[in-house]
């Protein structure tokens, strides 16, 4: 239903805008319309990078330049067909998107801004200084414009071409962003480590976001060049990069943000020109005002307005009202028979300078069992989990998961192999809905690829529906189904922990690592957690959990491993470990002769 309404809206919009060139032949208005379209194209792609993937780039004028000069040089110097050159411009820009992405991957925040600025400045200088190829300020003219029926496009046809491109971009990006790719981008933006741990390759998605933004900027550059049949280095400035970023920030993150931003800012820019004195002031003042009044951009402000006017119905009649089937775990590959060694480490060693949190650990995790890892604070438990999941590389030693070495493997690859985890300090995707969090967990199991999503093929829609269904099953499994549409960050702490658990389960792990799942829970919630862990084990998932709550550990574990100062000092059945003198000494110290009693049930140890 929603899809059809949207499509209808798009058609109506296209018709309306398409009509304008028939109604007026004022070249200036047509030029402004064309510019809106071009700015929209550039901003739509940049929005994917900035709004969704959260990588703020101040160097996209460089990518605009790549597209512009590719179109110019290929037609003017190499005599290519203008449409082919146009396509080539986008491709070239995409290539350079990879170039700017690679250094940008390693840095965040201001350093990322710097790398992108650097890229933009380098491109700007190259096209101004390398006169032999790029003709600097003199510029390249004789650029072939796009043609229709052998004739160069006239002002009206340019508007229609740009309209068609804009609509295509909108539809494609909308499909893309509503599905697994949009979620992946947002996950990478919010919590990189968590995204990686549920199988999203942060590297790949950042590069993808850069490439998408590069391609649209490149097309924008080519359009400007071919429409004007001229380009020179004065077109490429830092201010252009700022302008693109401004459109995105002003418009807001939603899919419609770039359109709103492009329309408002282009119109403003065009019509303020008649008051040359106040042009700049108004511009600067508008920026500030917009940021105060609309922190979520124009689209965000409009959304809240519509919501207040009740134009939006937030009650979504969801499939969750329908009965949900219980969740059956589908394990990738063969199910592992109980009792087999799932994970084995030998001589695992990690040192940070003088601190050695992991000292020569030999550990075996058997399938079908619940293992617990205990030890005093600073024993190196979380470090071990981090090493096992691939977040921290070991200094020495071997690790094998299901027979394959995991040393040096990227985190997402280890997740692909069937290892899932939760975090001690909650790492939810707080501004995504609960069900979207779980769907990110399903990410690696959604097989449909990029192009199907971009083109909105039925395979993608089917996979999305399946993912929704399975996510609801998992939520029901953990009793969270009525919170499916709530914002993950808005839930109470206990429920948030469960959402993270649901997300980890969605990766369909063979082995699940839980880092202090009971932290912050009251005794009743802890009891419920025991039941939950039991049900997870009954599904066939092997569990390794770090805990301090001794009652939980004793109640649920089949096997306990004790660490102290990075070394394994004991392991075995819970009761045996409980009375092991070395373990007692580690927790209570050896000087106390009196209090050598074993720890009993019901006593929590800090």
């Amino acid at each position: 239903m929603n899809q059809y309404k949207h499509l209808l809206g798009v058609v109506a919009f296209a018709a309306l805008v398409g009509l304008i060139p028939l109604v007026t032949d004022n070249g200036f208005y047509l030029k402004v319309l064309f510019l809106i379209g071009v700015n929209y194209l550039a901003a739509a792609g940049l929005n994917v990078l900035v709004g969704y993937a959260g990588q703020k780039s101040l160097g996209h004028a460089g990518l605009f330049a790549v597209g512009a000069y590719t179109a110019a040089l290929f037609t003017a110097k190499l005599g290519w067909n203008p449409w082919l050159a146009f396509a080539a411009a986008g491709a070239m820009a995409g290539l350079f998107g990879v170039v700017i992405a690679l250094p940008a991957l390693r840095v965040k925040g201001p350093a990322l801004a710097m790398v992108t600025i650097g890229f933009g400045v380098v491109v700007e200088k190259v096209v101004s200084e390398w006169q032999d190829v790029f003709a600097g300020q003199q510029g390249i003219y004789g650029v072939l414009p796009l043609t229709f029926g052998g004739e160069p496009l006239d002002a009206r046809q340019w508007v229609w071409v740009v309209l068609a491109l804009g609509i295509a971009a909108h539809l494609m990006l909308r499909f893309l962003l509503r599905g697994k790719y949009g979620r992946a981008f947002m996950a990478v933006n919010t919590a990189e480590v968590a995204a990686e741990s549920v199988g999203v390759s942060v590297y790949k998605y950042k590069v993808l976001a850069f490439v998408i933004s590069a391609v649209t900027c490149g097309f924008a550059g080519a359009l400007i060049t071919q429409q004007n049949q001229y380009i020179n280095s004065d077109f490429i400035t830092f201010n252009l990069s700022v302008f693109f970023l401004l459109i995105v920030l002003f418009g807001g993150r939603s899919v419609y943000g770039p359109l709103l931003g492009a329309v408002v800012l282009t119109l403003l820019d065009a019509f303020l020109a008649r008051w040359p004195g106040v042009q700049h002031f108004t511009y600067g003042a508008l920026l500030l005002f917009a940021l105060y009044a609309m922190p979520n951009g124009l689209s965000g402000a409009l959304t809240s307005l519509f919501r207040r006017l009740r134009w939006y119905d937030r009650r979504v009649p969801g499939p969750e009202r329908a009965p949900i089937a219980p969740w059956r775990l589908q394990v990738a590959g063969d199910a592992v028979p109980g009792g087999e060694v799932l994970l084995r480490t030998q001589g695992l060693y990690k040192a940070y300078g003088g601190v050695v949190p992991t000292n020569n650990l030999d550990i075996e995790i058997q399938s079908g069992h619940v293992h617990s890892l205990i030890g005093p604070n600073g024993a190196g438990k979380t470090t071990l989990l981090n090493i096992l999941s691939g977040i921290v590389p070991p200094s020495k030693g071997t690790m094998e998961f299901r027979g394959r070495s995991t040393v040096g493997q990227p985190v997402y690859r280890i997740c692909n192999m069937g290892l899932g985890r939760t975090f001690q300090n909650l790492k939810l995707f707080a501004d995504m809905s609960v069900i979207d969090n779980v769907k990110v967990g399903l990410h690696q199991h959604i097989r449909t690829g990029f192009w199907s999503y971009l083109l909105g093929l039925p395979a993608a829609a089917r996979d999305e529906a399946r993912a929704t269904a399975e996510s609801l099953q998992i939520l029901q499994f953990l009793g969270l189904q009525e919170h499916a549409r709530a914002l993950a960050g808005s839930l109470p702490y206990g429920l948030q922990r469960r959402v993270e658990l649901a997300r980890a389960l969605a990766t369909r792990p063979t082995l699940l690592l839980l880092d202090e799942p009971a932290a912050g829970l009251n005794p009743q919630e802890t009891g419920e957690l025991v039941e939950v862990i039991r049900s997870i084990r009954d599904l066939g998932i092997t569990i390794l959990l770090i805990e301090h709550h001794m009652d939980l550990v004793m109640a649920i574990s089949d096997h306990v491993i004790v660490l102290d100062y990075g070394e394994k000092i004991a392991e075995g059945a819970p009761l045996a470990v409980q009375s092991n003198p070395r373990v007692i000494a580690a927790y209570l110290g050896t000087d106390d002769e009196e209090e050598a009693a074993p720890m009993g049930l019901g006593e929590s140890h800090v």
């Binding site: 200036f28 300020q137 004007n228 020179n232 004065d234 077109f235 020109a273 008649r274």
Partner: protein
């Protein structure tokens, strides 16, 4: 039927009256950088010359009995904005002619627009040689210019350099902008016409403050004359760097150094060292003085007077052409521009300033060499200049 005829007559009369009232004013556009870059002061100077000319025309009764309205647009020094302004002026404001721009790069970006739409343009400032020649082979070229064309300036400077330099050891030092690079091309080509090859060609960034390394290279090549292409501040830095390394060859510069910024930056003594190409200064004649005062009322920190004068004259020529063609139709006005006689401007009286093949209203014969003395520009004369023949000005 009578009432119908009466009604029709009134209607037609009303239409005619409103039609003519609507079409009463003649609009001329001004499109230049007034706030975006270092060239802004030239653009502002030009604007006030433009406005002064329109004022004068209206005082004298307008053109063809109609009032003239100037439509001002600031192109911020960037091509996209300049193009947008041209589109707006031509398609939306429906101007009959345009005066502008200041940046050559911007002109090159939108040349095809007035050419296609048959709107005459007189360029008052931008000096890039290609602007008036790109459409020279079209049936009618709509781009004209009243400014100190780079090529013509280079002809003057090169002529002096060649005649003055004993061993013909001439170097070219240009800023890295399109202007500087275009100047280098022009100078090298003209020097070749004189049978001379420059011993060194160097470039510097327009905002550089230390040009000593390039000058050292020029010094090492043995040059005794240097032609410098840059704006006032760039050239001033060149001279200051020359002083730093104690290397003061004969230095020739372009019209940008007529700006009063130049002596302020170099100091009075050093400023005298530069010999530059000039066409008009505020005290060339009574008219320039008067115009200078008028412009200063709106733009007190006027540093680039020639732009105002050239702008003024551009408008005057357009007005004369419209009167001669008895129309504002672009094609007719352009044709008329190529056939003007006796138009009085501030810089000079124009007799056939443009022809079918030549769209430059000022050429090397209107220029002379000058130098700063104190805070005024004075004509520079020596044995070389006195011995100039027209044949010396190869271009």
């Amino acid at each position: 039927m009578n009432w119908f005829k009466g009604f029709a007559k009134t209607a037609i009369a009303a239409a005619v009256v409103s039609g003519t009232a609507y079409a009463q004013d003649i609009k001329i556009g001004y499109n230049a950088d007034m706030s975006g870059s270092g060239v802004a002061e030239l653009g502002i100077s030009g604007r006030w010359g433009f406005e002064a000319a329109i004022e004068d025309i209206n005082k004298a009764g307008g053109i063809l009995g109609r009032k003239v309205v100037g439509v001002i647009r600031d192109d911020l020094g960037t091509p996209p904005k300049s193009i947008q302004n041209m589109t707006e002026l031509i398609d939306n404001e429906k101007v009959s002619a345009v005066v502008g721009p200041a940046n050559s790069g911007n002109a090159l970006a939108w040349l095809h627009l007035p050419q296609q739409k048959k709107i005459p343009v007189v360029v008052p400032i931008a000096t890039g040689s290609e602007i008036t020649t790109r459409y020279a082979n079209d049936a009618q070229n709509y781009l004209f210019r009243i400014s100190m064309v780079d090529r013509e300036q280079s002809a003057l400077l090169a002529a002096y350099a060649v005649k003055h330099s004993a061993g013909k050891k001439i170097a070219v030092l240009a800023d890295s902008t399109g202007y500087g690079q275009g100047g280098t091309k022009d100078a090298t080509a003209i020097l070749e016409l004189h049978g001379v090859k420059p011993v060194a060609v160097e470039k510097f960034g327009p905002k550089d403050t230390d040009i000593t390394s390039q000058l050292s290279k020029i010094k090492a090549a043995g040059a005794d004359t240097v032609i410098v292409y840059g704006l006032a501040d760039g050239t001033a830095q060149v001279l200051r760097s020359m002083e730093k390394i104690n290397y003061l060859p004969t230095t020739l510069g372009a019209w940008g150094n007529l700006s009063s910024l130049f002596p302020k930056m170099t100091g009075a003594k050093l400023s005298e060292h530069l010999i530059m190409a000039a066409s008009t200064t505020e005290d060339t004649n009574a008219k320039t003085k008067a115009l200078g005062e008028r412009v200063r009322k709106n733009f007190p920190t006027l540093t680039t007077f020639p732009c105002a004068a050239q702008s003024y004259d551009s408008v005057m020529l357009i007005a004369a052409a419209m009167k001669q063609a008895n129309s504002t139709d672009g094609a007719k006005v352009a044709a008329a521009l190529e056939n003007l006689q006796g138009v009085e401007g501030v810089i000079k009286t124009y007799n056939k300033p443009f022809t079918k093949t030549m769209h430059e209203g000022l050429n090397v014969n209107d220029f002379y060499l000058a130098r700063w003395k104190g805070d005024t520009v004075v004509k520079f004369e020596d044995s070389v200049t006195k011995g100039f023949q027209p044949a010396d000005f190869k271009k």
